[in-house]
């Protein structure tokens, strides 16, 4: 603890401390290396010519880098459609989740009404219902509604999977000073005005975090879209990748396959790199408690 180092500590202890930290850094760097290596290998492969992909020895960095694999991937499979579907589904799911979660979180945090505790418990209890328990009936329902192979079929049934976000937002609204709420009430603001003009602007960081997490969740979801989207062009990136895998042994499409994987991983990585600090600080203020 650098800030705690006092004059009492000898130079020797200080040096030991420094060596200890260097060792920690070294260990963490090794773990980081192992963690990102599959990403590196994917990227490297996505820029390789076919003959370099299949060399016997390990070629870490492409000798003759090429961009071919990217247009090739779009040629073999409707990757453009998949990209658009992933994007559209992720954006609309996120909007939908925000629209139902923020008002509910506000009601559970600041309003007293008959049954409030019961309804909140109903929401939290959904966290212990594994998603897979509901897929058979939901599939039956969605196919009867004629929603198979549509964005609607993917989006609507996944909207209620938002208990964790409601909890996170509620915790954040609870941390707002009571004076702020009271002042608005004295001012004669209606509940809706209170929500729109006082609460929402003041929990913007938490809303940003929920937006990012639910975008990532929707972008990455697998089992449900795998069931609902059967049409070749209706797939998302996460579910479409399976066509490459079912073909690899015969067609040897590793280059285009890794190019598609790179396209699928880039948006989440960029979004996360920018939002990392915000996400941590929101978790800190929310105080996760089981």
């Amino acid at each position: 603890m650098a800030s705690m180092v006092t004059a009492r500590q000898s130079a020797g202890a200080k040096r030991r401390d420094e060596t200890g930290k260097l060792l920690v850094h070294a260990l963490v760097i090794v773990i980081c290396f192992l963690t990102i290596f599959p990403f590196f290998w994917m990227l490297s492969t996505s820029f390789k010519q076919a003959d370099e992909v299949f060399t016997k020895d390990i070629q870490l960095i492409p000798l003759n880098p090429t961009l071919r694999n990217f247009p090739d991937a779009f040629g073999y499979f409707p990757v453009g459609h998949w990209l658009w579907n992933s994007f559209g589904i992720a954006v609309l799911t996120t909007l939908g989740k925000l629209l139902i979660s923020v008002p509910a979180a506000f009601a559970f945090a600041r309003l007293r009404f008959r049954g409030d505790k019961f309804f909140f418990a109903m929401v939290l209890a959904t966290m212990i219902v594994p998603g897979v328990v509901t897929i058979v009936p939901n599939y039956v329902m969605v196919s009867r509604l004629g929603w198979l192979d549509s964005w609607t079929g993917v989006i609507i049934p996944s909207l209620p999977g938002t208990a964790f976000y409601v909890f996170l937002l509620r915790q954040n609204i609870l941390t707002l000073p009571q004076d702020l709420i009271d002042a608005a009430k004295v001012d004669g603001a209606s509940t809706l005005k209170l929500l729109a003009q006082i609460v929402v602007p003041n929990i913007r960081p938490a809303i940003a975090v929920v937006t990012i997490l639910s975008f990532l969740g929707a972008w990455n979801q697998y089992l449900w879209p795998l069931l609902v989207l059967n049409d070749f062009e209706a797939k998302t990136l996460a579910t479409g990748m399976q066509f490459f895998t079912s073909n690899t042994e015969s067609a040897q499409l590793w280059g285009p396959m890794m190019a598609t994987a790179a396209i699928a991983t880039l948006p989440p990585l960029i979004i996360y790199a920018f939002a990392q600090k915000q996400i941590i600080s929101t978790f800190v203020t929310s105080g996760i408690k089981g």
Partner: protein
Amino acid sequence: MATIRVTNDAALVRSVPERRGIRWHRLLEGATPYLLIAPLLVLIGVFIYWPLFYSAYLSFFDWNFVRPDKTFVGWDNYTRLADDPRFMRSLRGTAIYLVTLVPIQVFLPLGLALLLWPIRRAKSQSAYRIMLFSPTVIAYSVGAVMWLWIFNANQGLLNKLLAEFGVERINWLSDRNTAIWAVIVVATWKTLGFHLLLYLAALEAVPHDYVEAASLDGASHWQIMRSIRFPLITPTFFFVLVTTVISVNDDVFGAINVLTDGGPFESTTNIIYYLYQQGFKYFQIGAASAVSIIVFFATVLLTWVQFRFVERHVHYG
């Protein structure tokens, strides 16, 4: 706040000619909380609670999804499971994933968080966090595809690397002794970051004065960690434990689907994958529903056990 006015008098004056408006207003205000929670609760009711009951109902019928009529078969869908060797193998896989991945996913990120904590002010810290978290933000299926290219028997990196040391080709994904470990490696890699983030956030939330008071009293780094920091992050620890037990078998679905499709010889399958195959490969809707009801009750039971026996060791606030 310049806009705050004392408006009570004004409201009184206004109330006389606008009494009807006010009654409406009151009614609307009374209904507001319900209007705010209604969309969420309706969706939860339709897509989570109702399916739960419908699953229970379907589990007593023989139905293939295409046929218009369902045949009532009583408990047959449940009792038949016991005779199905594929189901038994899926239980074995489920147990292996629980026993290996729960400790890995709960303790490994905790250890890493404790390792990162003393160097949290280093400039490289945010680079570390971004790298360690990166597998968590991508799709399970896409991550699994990246590993497919490492585990691939003919052209994969791992075998090429081992060949340098004279190790002969290993069929990682089609050997029943190694395939499940490949899935476990991918699952470990995939979930490390999120739990790490939760632990780091919890460590950051520990009040600074506690730590300072202890260190003034001469407590060492590890004493502080053991008797102040750890007890104060037990709520997060408990949260991670409970959610991991619930989700671990659900989570590995993407990895199983991409890497092994449950094989070889059902060595990597689990109860979730069995449900998926029964329902959407063989269209045994009744059997799949019976499995989903079993999964539900097992989850509730496991969660209850943890609240009953582990939660007492948790310090809130």
